[in-house]
């Protein structure tokens, strides 16, 4: 059942142009940043360099790729529930002998698979330097994992926003709102005098940062898993409530 849902989402994602446009635009932007990093790095003398080439690339290239993934997830997710509510095609799933939890998981995995190529883009760019520069492949792998986990969270938020309204445009903006909130919430820490780092912990970029530095910490893994599960549970709740409204 979940397999059927995933298959349909993949098919729909691959035959419509949105994913291909996101990949092309993403690659153009990343290539530009890639060039800039290389140029800056090669322009500096050995003693002026504060970080290795891999670290420079991780922080800049993967950092930007995370922003691209953040913008892509809501766009890819809007079609999945919101668009189906609008077109009435959700009625097919709603009247079929399938659990709503299976629907949510199927759509989520479908979205995650569709957004995975976006997460692989920076690694592909970096790997072009194999043999030319001195690369830390372990760090590239860790950064890619971190980016993929961040994309997982973005997808869950995107799916949740998509379940809220039958207007895909509105769903995208709700998702952007939530994602931006999760991006800037860490800044609140500097506004308050407290030493409690809750706000810092809530923001996703703090956790991605450690992955980009090459550290896989259990607390970061837990953060992404926890919030992904939370938003998927909220989506399920929302779909159940639709039947009662």
């Amino acid at each position: 059942m979940i397999g059927a849902m995933i298959g349909r989402e993949l098919r729909a994602g691959l035959v419509t142009p949105l994913l291909w446009i996101l990949l092309s635009v993403g690659q153009v932007i990343l290539a530009w940043i890639f060039l800039q990093v290389i140029e800056n790095f090669s322009g500096l003398g050995a003693d002026e360099r504060v970080a290795t080439l891999t670290q420079e690339l991780m922080l800049n290239l993967f950092g930007f790729a995370a922003v691209i993934a953040m913008l892509s997830a809501p766009l890819l997710a809007m079609r999945m529930l919101s668009g189906e509510f609008r077109d009435g095609s959700f009625d097919l799933i709603d009247a079929a002998p399938i659990r709503l939890s299976q629907v949510v998981i199927g759509k989520f995995i479908g979205l995650l698979l569709l957004i995975s190529p976006v997460c692989l883009l920076p690694a592909v760019n970096v790997l072009m330097l194999t043999g030319i520069g001195d690369l830390d492949f372990g760090q590239v792998a860790t950064a890619t994992l971190g980016l993929w986990l961040a994309a997982m969270l973005f997808s869950a938020i995107g799916i949740y926003a998509s379940s809220l309204t039958a207007q895909p445009g509105a769903a995208v903006f709700v998702a952007f709102g939530l994602l931006l909130l999760f991006s800037i919430i860490g800044r609140a820490e500097s506004l308050t005098a407290t030493t409690l780092s809750l706000f810092g912990w809530l923001s996703w970029n703090e956790h991605l940062f450690w992955f980009l530095l090459g550290a896989v910490r259990l607390s970061d893994l837990a953060y992404f898993a926890l919030f992904t599960a939370l938003f998927l549970a909220l989506t399920h709740r929302r779909l159940v409530n639709r039947r009662l409204q």
Partner: protein
């Protein structure tokens, strides 16, 4: 006969507005039930409740004896549903779409190809398997919607305005299909078209303001309620009512009348009387539409010519 569906005191409110109140009915195997009502009467709400897409405020729905609220998955397995707008994915091809529907309805993999071929054949889509749904015309989309509903051969079929968007030929073909399907399953269809319901249904439930006001079998030999006449220019209603055998006449338009006859007087006698009185008889048509009368009588609206 086996009871496929039993609905007991089903109610659904949206806020303070009661869309459906205390609806109770049942459906036997081999029966076609027509749900009739004006726009906003509660037909679609009723069908959405039956398909499990809406939860009832109160009441109970049993499909083949399985409570829909307690065992939703098991109950829905016996259900085929065509919503008001066919639930299609424009980016898929017809075959891909039907294969997805087959998997949703848990048809065993080895039977999927046969089931799809059969459903396409029944709905006249044999040559459309590779066509993109986005490119299909409205009539073909409706047919595809019906194909997905009958794909898994459900014993209970729920069709929300199935003839919407079909041309007269397709409409006739669909009526044939529904009658054929009704041989081994039960069908509920909604419509606001009286002749359509009359042509295809065994039983009719008329909904008005969320309540079932009429629920009865349609007699196959429908009684004649009156006669419609079109006479020559010299006719007047007063002259017409004076004729023997006529109990009453109503003007329906210029030189058009509706007359009621005494018991035992038939159309031949009526025609003879009219000719003898010196009128020109242009048309003489029996009025059989008992459902139409029931509909308008129930809704408290007098039929207008």
């Amino acid at each position: 006969m086996e009871t496929l569906l039993r609905v007991t005191a089903l109610s659904r409110s949206f806020g303070s507005h009661a869309a459906l109140s205390e609806a109770s009915f049942s459906l036997e195997r081999g029966e076609v039930l027509g749900l009739l009502g004006s726009n906003g009467a509660g037909k679609t709400t009723c069908l959405r409740l039956l398909s499990g897409m809406l939860a009832p405020t109160s009441g109970r729905i049993e499909i083949l004896g399985i409570d829909l609220a307690r065992h939703p998955l098991e109950a829905r397995r016996h259900l085929g549903y065509l919503p008001e707008h066919p639930p299609l994915y424009p980016e898929l091809r017809v075959d891909e779409y039907l294969a997805f529907c087959a998997r949703l309805h848990q048809i065993p993999r080895r039977r999927i190809a046969t089931a799809i071929a059969e459903a396409k054949c029944r709905c006249g889509l044999e040559d459309s398997g590779q066509r993109l749904i986005a490119k299909l015309s409205k009539g073909f989309r409706q047919r595809l919607g019906i194909a997905q509903a009958i794909l898994h051969q459900p014993p209970l079929l729920i069709l929300d305005e199935p003839t919407e968007g079909l041309d007269p030929f397709q409409m006739r073909a669909l009526r044939g299909l529904i009658r054929e399907l009704a041989r081994d399953c039960g069908v509920i269809l909604s419509s606001h078209l009286l002749p359509e319901v009359q042509a295809v249904c065994d039983r009719v439930a008329i909904l008005h303001q969320g309540r079932i006001r009429f629920n009865d079998y349609l007699a196959t030999a429908q009684p004649i309620y009156g006669w419609r006449l079109r006479l020559g220019a010299s006719s007047t209603v007063v002259k017409l009512t004076d004729l023997p055998g006529i109990t009453g006449a109503v003007v329906m338009g210029e030189d058009r009348y509706r007359v009621l006859l005494e018991d035992g007087v038939d159309s031949a006698e009526l025609a003879r009387q009219i000719i003898q009185a010196g009128f020109e008889l242009h048309e003489l048509v029996p009025e059989r539409s008992d459902l139409e009368r029931a509909f308008f009588d129930l809704l408290g609206v007098e039929e207008q010519g």
